[in-house]
Homo-oligomer: 547 residues x 2
């Protein structure tokens, strides 16, 4: 394993710099007619980015990891200066991330992580654990919590893969990116089956630290549900959970580490259930008569024993937007035609469903689902729509870069609730976003899809696009984001279904878990991280660093 950079990615945006998803003139004109003209602002050049002068690290750190595993060049620091949320991209593109790690440290194994944390505890150095750096909620923001020096602990060298075939458990290093883990498992005929939109760049450690949900999580489970055990190196020692999670030995510490977002320690190993790589995958499109009818279909599927792996229901607005952007998001001509034949169904909602497994099992489940779909009044669009979705399943963030290039604001947020309160949540959050965009003087497009369906509830994933208030982008974003968050907590939804808490949702944790809940988390934080060095400013409402 080497500590080299994993492929050149945009320092100011998402993924492969050679890959662009240009909006065709038709889509651009739809956008202009709906939200007005964008004001294009290209990103500055890398050398124009302003970051503070690096402060010197304690020598002990270089003694632990070796001088070659400390990176402190301009580019390396800029690349860890922010995550990949909308406000992060705005700041990066403007060349003003505001902060950057003093250095990037690349430990080679869990023992080095432990020694680095001991040193940082002793010397008062803040530590930001870093996997893929894809957080959209400020989860990797280099906030030093007032400690004066900050390192980003990049875990890319921790990429071990070990498989227990009998127990179908893979023990994975936190630095493995999604495709690296899947490739290693595929060689053994296995899969993890976890495919979030950030799959191509996000890391195993990040999946665990943020309770990631992937596109197939409705059927295969969220990442947190796949994890059997986990190792967390904290400033006061290592916390390792038992090999099997099926235990009655008190509160589940595994579930305390999952979602800890680097605020309690560094996840140095994740063991997760794997399964035989599916013989076949089948994705297809349907159109439901409306959002409510579509939700009822999803509910019946999720409450059956044959829920599809992938479940996605767009509301009428997202369905229209997908068609308008079809050149980019891959809804091809044939699919469009099929849809247009159904156009008398005003308010039709696009459904994407996917199955994986043995051929027989996919066939059986698909047939049962088709029965429920027909019974719910949905109309099949065929496999073309499914294939189009599959081809473009990781493209969202590329499209966002394109919209930012065109001078638009483009942001997403997600929440979840029980089925009986989903309608209410859908209504209040959508309205809150649209209303605040109006207040900002930038009326926008607000669309939504159900991204995951469970027996007891479902998630809602909102996307909104508006003109940018040039020079006041962060204020504009903050106002809209706050309105959405207030609406979510007011309706009893969770502040985040799969993006995690990070910097952006920390102020809502009291609403989410109550004061005693925050007290409980704070107590753990203070015990495991007595000097407050671990990822300051994330997860919990801001704490004073203890002496």
């Amino acid at each position: 394993m080497t500590g080299g950079e994993a492929g050149p990615t945009k320092w100011w945006g998402w993924g492969d710099p050679g890959r662009r998803l240009r909006l065709d003139p038709g889509a651009q004109s739809v956008l202009r007619s709906k939200v007005g003209p964008g004001e294009p602002v290209p990103p500055v050049r890398l050398e124009e980015v302003v970051v503070p002068e690096p402060r010197p690290l304690p020598d002990a750190i270089a003694e632990i990891v070796g001088r070659a595993s400390i990176l402190d060049g301009h580019e390396q620091r800029v690349r860890r200066a922010a995550g990949r949320g909308y406000p992060d991209l705005i700041r990066l593109r403007a060349g003003r991330p505001g902060q950057a790690p003093d250095a990037v440290v690349l430990p080679g194994n869990a023992e080095e992580v432990a020694e680095v944390l001991e040193t940082c505890l002793r010397e008062g150095v803040a530590v930001v654990p870093f996997g893929g750096g894809t957080s959209v909620v400020g989860g990797v923001e280099p906030d030093d919590g007032g400690l004066g020096v900050l390192i980003t602990l990049d875990l890319r060298r921790l990429r071990g893969v070990e498989v227990d075939r009998q127990s179908l458990i893979a023990t994975l290093g936190p630095g493995l990116r999604g495709p690296e883990a899947e490739n290693a498992l595929r060689a053994e005929g296995l899969t993890l089956g976890h495919f979030p939109q950030s799959f191509e760049y996000a890391s195993i450690g990040g999946f665990a630290a943020t309770r990631s949900a992937g596109q197939a999580s409705s059927g295969l489970g969220r990442f947190d549900e796949m994890v059997t055990s986990v190792r967390l190196t904290t400033p006061i020692g290592e916390l390792v959970t038992r090999e099997t999670p099926h235990s009655a030995a008190g509160p589940a510490l595994r579930e305390l580490i999952l979602g800890s977002e680097g605020a309690l320690g560094v996840i140095t190993e994740v063991s997760a259930r794997v399964r035989p790589a599916p013989q076949t995958r089948r994705y297809e499109g349907w159109v439901a008569q409306g959002f409510e009818a579509g939700c009822e279909i999803l509910r019946s599927l999720a409450q059956s024993d044959f829920v599809p792996a992938v479940v996605r229901l767009s509301d009428p607005e997202e369905t229209s937007m997908s068609l308008a952007f079809s050149g980019q998001v891959g809804i091809r001509r044939a699919v469009l035609d099929a849809y247009l034949r159904l156009r008398r169904r005003a308010g039709g909602c696009m459904l994407i469903l996917g199955w994986e497994g043995t051929r027989e099992e996919v066939e059986r489940r698909r047939a049962l689902a088709a029965r429920a779909l027909h019974a719910g009044g949905a109309v099949p669009l065929g496999r073309g729509a499914g294939r189009a979705w599959e081809r473009t399943r990781y493209d969202g963030p590329y499209l966002r870069d394109e919209l930012l290039d065109l001078g638009y604001m483009a942001e997403t947020l997600e929440t979840a609730h029980s089925w009986s309160r989903l309608d209410e949540l859908y209504a209040v959050v959508g309205t809150a976003i649209a209303d605040e965009l109006e207040v900002q003087g930038t009326p926008g497009i607000v669309v939504c899809h159900v991204s995951h369906a469970y027996r007891d509830g479902a998630s809602l994933y909102f996307t909104f696009i508006a003109r940018r208030r040039t020079g006041a982008e962060i204020e504009q974003w903050h106002a809209v984001k706050s309105a959405a968050c207030e609406a979510i907590v007011g309706a009893g939804g969770t502040i985040t279904h799969h993006h995690a808490v990070g910097r952006d949702h920390a102020p809502y944790m009291v609403a989410e878990v109550g004061q005693p809940g925050v007290e409980a988390l704070t107590a753990i934080k203070e015990r495991l991280d007595p000097a407050g060095i671990m990822n300051p400013g994330k997860l919990l409402p801001r704490l004073a660093a203890s002496p």
Copy 2:
């Protein structure tokens, strides 16, 4: 809802005093030949039981719940003086429980619970939350933690039932016993599907507080996996988790409350997933060629998509014992004959499998399982064996009372591991128990079954029977229990798969979760329960009560 006693139960043993499972002479003679003669010691009479004089409660408590909801008679105190573990029964039968609550307090709702806890925090009164009182690990032991006064908070009046049919979530009071909850749900055509051996007497709050697993948990999930949200009243306030558990908002506090065993607060409400009551249930018996072959079959079933709801594989010794005790544990003549026809299979292992759901689904899953069973060399015993198991599924504790009456020691303990390390765990724990029984001069019968099978691992449930060292029962038990626990933690198993931690396993929590894990739990405990009033001496290695 009334606060009356729920049916007369044995104060010195398990369940209905009118129900006995007498061992027939044949079984008694098997027992004598294997472990020697018992020395029958009948329980003392209730009025002979010695408990300390009750100490007076703060008046404020009566002001909150009303005088009629405070019980301090001899019988009421004796009935909460111990749980239902083997050492508890030994002490109760001898009339020397050692301790008892000063009074039993019956709050009428969550608000009263909160007020009582506030008072107890202020006045320094220890509180033992109490549901069914069926703990077999000392979970309800009236240990005052040095505080001087102790109440048992009996939650039987908190028995609300509310159903969200759309979300298939039932919100249940912690005081509901298993059958009460199931009866209320059956009226709505629903079921929780949670049937531990203690089902008839254990409570919903207890299921949640101890991470209960039931006999159908292999297929339907453990109780902790069914819970969607939970309310915990702590001495410093109420912790309520969001309605839906599908969230990325940090560590899962729900998973901190599940398994908290009354040591952090009182669970006042549990919301759990329910499902349509099954159209049909089908249980049947099979015989595997040996324990290893049986485990391989269970593993293949658990790693498929058609794992049965109920899965139970006895080792050869348990299989023989079941047959010897057949009059009692219900393996009837016909089954016995079927088994005897197979007797050339030395070391044959009894398998019980159960399916529930629609007729079609049960048929389909059963057929798939039968294929795996035949492929693994197992031979069907038919539905008679399944019906016999079903008829006697809650009888274990009655049989234990019978063995105690005959003067034997009879104890059970359970653990779990990944499939790849199950053999090792089976060997070392069985050997440790047998060896220590020898050391005690009371060589015994040690038998085991796999009680739950998961994708990644399985649980082992050991039963041992031996002569009693009369007058030194607790020392004898402690020596054997310790040997078993040391073997479990040495092999990396969990110290408890579904009996919980309580008093008996608390010393092993450092081995289970490490020092940082215990630190994390202790930090939460100290924050939520700053005076250490909540269920002292349980869950965590003993802490000094904070001032």
